[in-house]
């Protein structure tokens, strides 16, 4: 973070710019789709939409390179499927199972070791926090957690900037 970067364009391919573009686009879309909510329920819905949009645009900006981004995208899509045409939950289950089972068996033993090493509660908590964390061993989990934290920071920064910008 150098104090001079405001004078030069940020890398157009950076995660930040990608996320910003995606998020702004989805925000505008949300705005167009629904009128400004008057009632709290609508407000909550809108809020949820915005949050989903933020998560999704972040995951898309990251791409499929990371386990957590893929997991997040899957989750969002499943949610959409679930809510949309009311597909049977089996679809969702299948998707999730495929993902977890692949690594589940391999990682089971390692996960047990991980828990012993680092504390059962903490690792399980971390797994829950990081999307897609259940199916990873501690080593990869820490890796993904680090990247996830980085991306979350970026997300918060950008969202705050947007909020500030539009609150003027």
């Amino acid at each position: 973070m150098n104090p001079h970067h405001h004078s030069s364009y940020l890398n157009p391919n950076s995660l930040k710019s990608r996320f910003t573009k995606n998020f702004l686009r989805s925000l505008i879309k949300i705005n167009k789709q629904t009128p400004f909510p008057c009632r709290p329920t609508e407000m909550f819905q809108r809020c949820h939409k915005v949050k989903t949009a933020a998560d999704k645009s972040l995951a898309c900006a990251v791409g499929s390179r990371r386990v957590w981004s893929r997991a997040m995208l899957c989750k969002i899509r499943n949610r959409a499927l679930r809510r949309g045409p009311q597909k049977p939950p089996s679809v969702r289950r299948i998707i999730i199972n495929n993902r977890t089972m692949k690594k589940g068996f391999n990682c089971l033993k390692e996960k047990m070791n991980d828990d012993q090493e680092a504390g059962i509660d903490q690792t399980s908590k971390l797994r829950k926090l990081v999307p897609g964390g259940e199916a990873m061993d501690l080593c990869n989990l820490l890796d993904e957690a680090a990247h996830y934290i980085k991306c979350l920071n970026t997300q918060v920064q950008v969202m705050r900037s947007i909020a500030d910008f539009y609150s003027t």
Binding site: M1, N2, P3, L10, K51, V156, M159
Partner: protein, 562 residues
Amino acid sequence: MEMGDKDKFDLEKRSENHINYHLPGSVPSDWRFSGANIANSSLGLVSTDNQMPVCRGDLVGASCSSASMVDSFSPGVWDHPTNTQNLGFCDINVQHNASTINPIGIRKGGPASLRSGIDKTLDIVWNPPSSQLKGGIFLPTTPGALPQSLSQFPADSAFIERAARFSCFNGGNFSDVVNPLGIPEPMDLYSRGGGMMQVPHEVFAGSGLKSIPGGQGQKNVMNMGDSSKDASLSVEHVATEGSPLKNERRSGSFVRSHDEAKQGGSGNESEETEFSGGGRQEEQSMLEGNGGELSAKSPGSKKRKRNGQDADPYQAKGNQQSIEAAKDNPEVQQKGDENPASTPNKTAGKQGKQGSQASDPPKEEYIHVRARRGQATNSHSLAERVRREKISERMKFLQDLVPGCSKVIGKAVMLDEIINYVQSLQRQVEFLSMKLATVNPRLDFNIEGLHTKDILHSRAVPSSNLAFSPEVPMAYPPFNVSQPGLIQGSFPGMESHSEMLRRAINSQLTPLTGGFKEPTQLPNAWDYELNNVVQMGYATSAPQDSQDINGSLPPGHMKAEL
């Protein structure tokens, strides 16, 4: 070389005939290089026995023009395809050596090899060169390459490669090589091999093999026409591919030789240069089973040998593999070194239990782990140790990411902090999305591009949003209350709050400048502490990095920028 010239020309003619004769048919099926027909044929032409007596005489007295020697021998060489392979290789090497260092000496080596038969010839020929060319790393490779090339006779490329190599090695090792042999005969072999080597010779002319009678060589080349070109090309390929170490040299020599060969084969040159330039990969594929591999390994093996330790145990293995034609030990050992090159990698790769001399063999996909003193060398414990190290390394990285964790030591506490931080970040996202949901209506009249630019490049300047300000800190205190340890989470809110306030107060302030030089002007309404924290953050970094202020860490600490 009494008969030298005369015979040479006779031989040449014969060789030419042979070459033409052999061209169509003698290409071995397993010869990889379709374009290397010439090479095959030329190899085939290298005869072992028949020509030897004839050629020897030529060789002995041969002048430095290795090419001439080659010519003289080539006819004989051409006669015996199978043998010629070996001979060819020997010859090439010898010739090169001869040209570079001591023509006579080289020649001696050549014929000798021819005499004793393919295998022996190879051994003889190769041993001296290898011993000689210690400086030249790939020399040893060539000897090693020979045995393999023998088996794959169409290994014209290997042959050529060696020729190329020798051309590169103008260092006079060959004289020594030859001397031990003390056999003038090898020269015959070389000359024979030279028959086919002519093509490469032309290529290597620059390196010093100019002795190649340009005319003769050209003649043969011209006769062969395209085939020679192919051969040269293949040679190029081989040469360039053979030894990664000498690649640049070879290409250099090739280039030179190309120039030299321009005498007759301009086309050749262009092709050759092209190939030398980019033919590495092709060569690689071509040389696959050839000495190319060996040559590639032999430098490594050579190194290993020098280092001493691993070479010996592996030589046996290498010997088994490499001994196809060569029976002599030195060569085999050279090859053995090459072959074990792969094996030591593997054995070393197995958890590096032996505390492998990983320095020598090129590290492959295995992770070399050295067992520390007093630690178990069980493969399981080694793997465990590697894993633990990986985890601790990642924890360190996370420590840098998460503010306020630098003082913490210990996995459990660290993990707690990390979990808290992730939770706070996620809550911030929720809060901000809620905020945005309420703010959204104002987005409509803004252009997306403008938004992006503004947002990315500047903290939005809320000219005065005191209305919002109270909201922000109010949202965050709950965080504080719920998790006393999560004070850091409150900072962003506070910080943005104060930032907004500042902006309201100091209209001149642009967040981008990051030069909040008016910390003193902060309203007293704010906590002085908070102000200090914020000042720190702003003074040292752009306002965007408000989060860097968390935990009062230097902004650079946060590697949030992606």
